[in-house]
């Protein structure tokens, strides 16, 4: 009640920055490099400079959530990474829900617990870093939604007739307070799809998670993750979804790479390509498909690209 839950994008990002610190995601750069490329292309279109830094490391949130890393380590890593952004005087933008939650939760802990901040700063102080909490953490999807009109104006390849469904992923909406939409019934991706000319599809299990977030795909794959994903993809298939978007490369791995396994296990014929929201936007903005790295996808996009009259190469 004290803090506003849902805020409008203009309140969240009052002024569109000239440059942002783009926080590289491991999965988004290794498993689906097209995500990184699409984010950079879209930011370029929007006139926002994406600054990266080779000194930035992995956010380490995934391994922490898998109980493999101690939180003390991740607090120090977060402090170090954000100190780099702070030094540049830029706000941090991530393109992975995991990084978003890792950075925002850890920075929240650092900022609200004096002793933890002091401990982290002492650890990173030996190399001259210092974290003070001046850089704010955002997800690039907030920028997309903030500049929805500008993106809509720039669409040169309207996604007309394409039935697109959203997978929001959990770790942006789970922040609950001060975010763009209601975690109970988010619609801002669907609004973006409409802006791109596509037909948004509301399928039954739209808000089911991907099941991979804390490595359960490695430990409980048969027991829960696959039945869980079956439930989700099945409901999308029933609703006639042609393409699904994510805002988290981790979710993308689960939804894309598991489809052949689900087909084998359950005798299904799922074929719903899963790409990043930024890739969809970049596609509509006319970025050639060859720059969007769809080759990394297990469930191929060829028929979708054909429908949109663009080959892989164009």
């Amino acid at each position: 009640m004290q803090t506003k839950r849902v805020i409008n994008p203009g309140e969240r990002i009052p002024r569109v920055p000239e440059a942002v610190f783009l926080f590289r995601s491991c999965t988004g750069s290794l498993e689906y490099p097209g995500t990184e490329s699409a984010v950079k292309e879209t930011l370029k279109f929007l006139g926002v400079e994406a600054v990266t830094d080779p000194d930035q490391t992995c956010c380490s949130g995934f391994l922490q959530a898998c109980s493999a890393y101690k939180p003390e380590f991740c607090l120090a890593v977060t402090a170090r990474n954000l100190a780099i952004a702070e030094k540049k005087g830029l706000d941090t933008y991530t393109f992975c829900n995991g990084c978003y939650t890792g950075l925002s939760e850890f920075s929240h802990t650092l900022l609200s617990h004096q002793d933890q901040r002091a401990a982290a700063n002492e650890l990173i102080g030996r190399w001259g870093y210092r974290y003070e909490g001046r850089t704010a953490v955002y997800h690039v999807q907030e920028m997309w939604y903030r500049l929805k009109e500008r993106i809509a104006e720039g669409v040169v390849r309207p996604l007309k007739g394409l039935r697109v469904a959203a997978h929001y992923g959990c770790h942006y909406l789970s922040a609950q307070y001060g975010i763009l939409d209601d975690a109970g019934y988010p619609t801002f991706h669907e609004e973006l799809f409409e802006a791109l000319g596509a037909t948004p599809v509301f399928y039954k299990e739209r808000q089911l998670c991907c099941g991979y977030s804390v490595g359960r795909g490695f430990t409980h794959k048969e027991a829960i993750v696959q039945p869980h994903l079956h439930k989700k993809i099945k409901s999308a298939a029933v609703a006639g979804v042609q393409l699904m978007t994510t805002v988290c490369p981790g979710c993308n791995v689960a939804l894309d790479r598991e489809q052949p396994n689900l087909n084998r296990l359950y005798g299904e014929e799922f074929h719903i390509p899963v790409i990043d929201l930024a890739q969809l936007i970049a596609l509509a903005l006319g970025v050639p498909a060859s720059k969007l790295g769809f080759a990394a996808n297990t469930t191929s996009l060829d028929h979708v690209l054909k429908k949109l009259n663009c080959d892989k190469g164009s």
């Binding site: 009640m1 839950r5 109970g184 019934y185 039954k204």
Partner: protein, 342 residues
Amino acid sequence: MTKAGKTALIIGGGVAGMEAALRIGQAGFDCVLAEKEEVLGGTVLQLSSSFPRWENPLELVEERISQLKLCGRIKIMTATSAIESRVSKHGYSVTLQSRNGETTNLDIDAVVLATGFGMMDVSVYGEYGYGIYPEVVNSLEFEARIKAWSAGLGKVPEGVAFFKCVGSRDRSKGYPYCSKICCMYTAKQAGLVKDMFPYTKVYVFYMDYRAAGKCYEEFVREVIEKKHVTYVRGRPAKILPEGGKLLVRAEDTLIGIPIEVSVDIVVLASAAVPRRETGPLAEMFGAKADKYGFLERQRFSLAKASDRVFFAGGCGFPLETLAAQQEGASAAAEVIELFAHE
């Protein structure tokens, strides 16, 4: 016996306001009863039955209106709201405005605020989809459906689910307090549905039922045991549209298993909240409100909010019809006492 020269203004013509006006008028003082709507009765007008006796609340309203008219000292002003007030020699000088813009100035010696309560906008619960799915309604809207059904209109539902504590006892998106009346009216509505359609499945999702009052517990037990309404202990987590119906996901916490149920209508017992109008009125008369906007009574007083300002009914806290009548009478007692001493 006339006691001319003393006038009380009652703002709000619901059950509490009518009761206060009637008592003050019958004690021989002049009264002005201002009601924002075209007709007297307030929230009760929307109700189709009452607990714990299954009575028609409209009969009460009709009886009170005829008594008010008979009294002779009460001026009823419908479609009228108070827009301004100044402290005057004996009390307040109040400007009333009717809906068509006419203003009236009144010198009054005391005011009783009886603005009632409203329903929380539960569309903040995206998981319940109020405002998205047309068959998800709040309890007051459902009263209209009950009225339609009893008039032979509308489709017979196969299943109805009631969610209690939507917005109440919710520190996250709602209010921490218990709205007090939802347990009872939900039982009433569920019972009414069962009376009309015995083959309709009726589920009430509850955390606990708070039935503190004369014959209240018996009332709820009757609904469960005699009318066979299914009470499921657990707060529902999600409503999904499926095959033209609404699929509810919840846990049966008594056995600890996740459950699903498919129904036609979901009724949300929204938290009762202060009306929008109460805040400005309270400010106008210097009455103190608590952090939610409900009016606060002065220490050891029954109805006094500030000097010559009293309140009754739902603007203090959500309450049932009988309690609203009692509060109206309490406020009247304080006004009469004040007037009698001057």
